[in-house]
């Protein structure tokens, strides 16, 4: 699929039509690129406060989701921020497919390298499918594309 076609395949939606987030059923998939901007750092403890306050149960946090941008500008020091903000064992408590966890978050930087078949991609795909196809729960995946 050419890039132009891929972009056309996205379905533009609106804030009003965005489904209501179900804090028990749905997955909040947080993707920080940390490349090159460092503002993602400030957002992490703030985001964790909201997660806790609303009681969101399914959360995945990814650092290094810079996609087709330059991996060399990734801010590796973000690891200390994410460790402190999100802690241990908070990623996907009901899912065992997230193998590349570092203290509860997913490190895409170690595996991505512009490879669509990277293990991290397969792991996240399985995680998302587990929510969408959750035995008729009709779960949704909401991607906080914090790039």
């Amino acid at each position: 699929m050419e890039f132009a076609q891929a972009e056309e395949a996205l379905v533009a939606t609106s804030l009003a039509s965005l489904p209501t987030f179900n804090v028990t059923r749905d997955l909040l998939a947080i993707h920080y690129d940390n490349s090159p901007d460092k503002d993602d750092g400030h957002c992490q403890p703030v985001t964790k406060m909201v997660i806790d306050k609303l009681g969101i149960q399914k959360v995945s946090v990814v650092n290094g989701s810079y996609g087709d941008q330059d991996a060399s500008s990734y801010q590796t020091q973000i690891a200390a921020v994410t460790n402190a903000a999100f802690g241990v064992g908070k990623c996907n408590p009901n899912n065992t497919t997230c193998g590349l966890l570092q203290n509860g978050w997913i490190d895409a930087h170690v595996d991505w390298n512009h490879n669509a078949n990277a293990l991290i991609v397969t792991q996240l795909a399985n995680l998302w499918l587990s929510v969408i196809e959750n035995a008729g729960d009709n779960g949704h995946v909401f991607v906080q594309e914090a790039g």
Binding site: A12, P45, K53, G55
Partner: protein, 332 residues
């Protein structure tokens, strides 16, 4: 995801972003790796979370407010996270020796997406430190059927699942086509004023309604299934149906097949288009569910039409097919 499960429902994935530049990157990556029909919401103009976050006009942003926010952070149970964040990205980094956009900065722009997803009213904050009034401290209360939140296994806010049933309104059409067309009737030339009946057909089979369009034709064609329903008061109706699409023999660039749905004379497409799905130059769409809410309808009898349109084809084998299943029309 398509490799793992070719029939997964991409319409259950919602990507929210506040930067059109970044939308371009994830648009290419997401649609290529995950597949079409991702729901994409840009919140470029949703504003900056937490009262501008100090990003814009940071040289004039009240330092006292930033200091108050940091004091609240220092006193909160989330202090370790804030300490690490401020060490990584010091708020006062643009003070000493700075010549442009100088000042203290906190940057929470990437919480815009979060606020949009959770439909939190960021505009309720009179100042940055108010964030702590809303989100610091108490653990979430146990979920109940009266907490005003859709949680547990509720299918609506405080209804469904372990709570009392949600009000589902009046069912106007509920057709699964298991044993027949469930009152739907097929007609050629249903859409876009086509007049080429020889190249469209419809049958009931395999528990679904089917439509085939195309061939060695000289003009566009269409065909679809329709059924009438009656409302006793004015208002919108909610519609959902499943559809799939396929094309044969690799239709050429510039030739396309569309899935269309219409109530009375109004098409309800995937905004900004008037079609639900268009496949140009070959390809297929696995079965997915399409849902939408109609415009307000007057009390009376109305007709829903679902089917396919093909703009052009040059060979007998250049056809497009679609299936229709599980049509549900309700009035809230």
């Amino acid at each position: 995801m398509k490799t793992i499960n070719p029939s997964f429902n991409a319409e259950r994935i919602h990507i929210v972003q506040h930067s059109s530049w970044n939308e371009g990157h994830y648009g290419r990556g997401g649609a290529t790796l995950v597949g079409p029909h991702l729901h994409s919401l840009g919140v470029e103009y949703y504003g900056e979370a937490i009262v501008n976050g100090g990003w814009y006009n940071s040289n004039t942003y009240p330092h006292a407010e930033i200091d108050e926010f940091m004091a609240r952070a220092n006193a909160s149970t989330y202090k370790p996270g804030f300490d690490a964040a401020f060490a990584f990205y010091p708020p006062d980094r643009y003070l000493a020796g700075c010549t442009n956009f100088c000042g203290k900065r906190l940057d929470f722009t990437d919480t815009n997406e979060l606020m949009a997803i959770l439909k939190q009213n960021k505009n309720s904050f009179s100042k940055m430190a108010s964030w702590f009034d809303n989100y610091d401290g108490a653990a979430p209360p146990a979920a109940t059927c009266s907490d005003g939140i859709q949680n547990q296994t509720e299918t609506g806010v405080d209804c469904g699942g372990p709570c009392s049933a949600c009000s589902s309104g009046t069912t106007l059409i509920d057709a699964n086509f298991a044993s027949g067309a469930s009152g739907f009737t097929y007609a050629d030339n249903m859409f876009r004023s086509t007049s080429n009946a020889a190249f469209a057909s419809g049958v009931h089979g395999t528990g679904k309604l089917n439509v085939t369009v195309g061939g060695a034709m000289t003009a566009a064609t269409s065909g679809g299934w329709s059924k009438s329903f009656t409302t006793t008061s004015s208002g919108t109706v909610s519609v959902s149906f499943k559809y799939s699409m396929s094309t044969a023999d690799g239709i050429d660039p510039g030739e396309w097949v569309e899935t269309l749905v219409m109530i009375n004379n109004t098409l309800y497409g995937a905004s900004p288009n008037d079609y639900v799905r268009r496949i140009e130059g070959g390809g297929a769409q696995v079965e997915v569910t399409r849902t939408f809410t109609s415009a307000s309808l007057a009390a009376g009898t109305h007709t829903i039409k679902i089917g396919a349109y093909m703009n052009a084809a040059t060979a007998a084998a250049e056809t497009g097919s679609m299936t229709i299943d599980d049509v549900l029309v309700t009035k809230p």
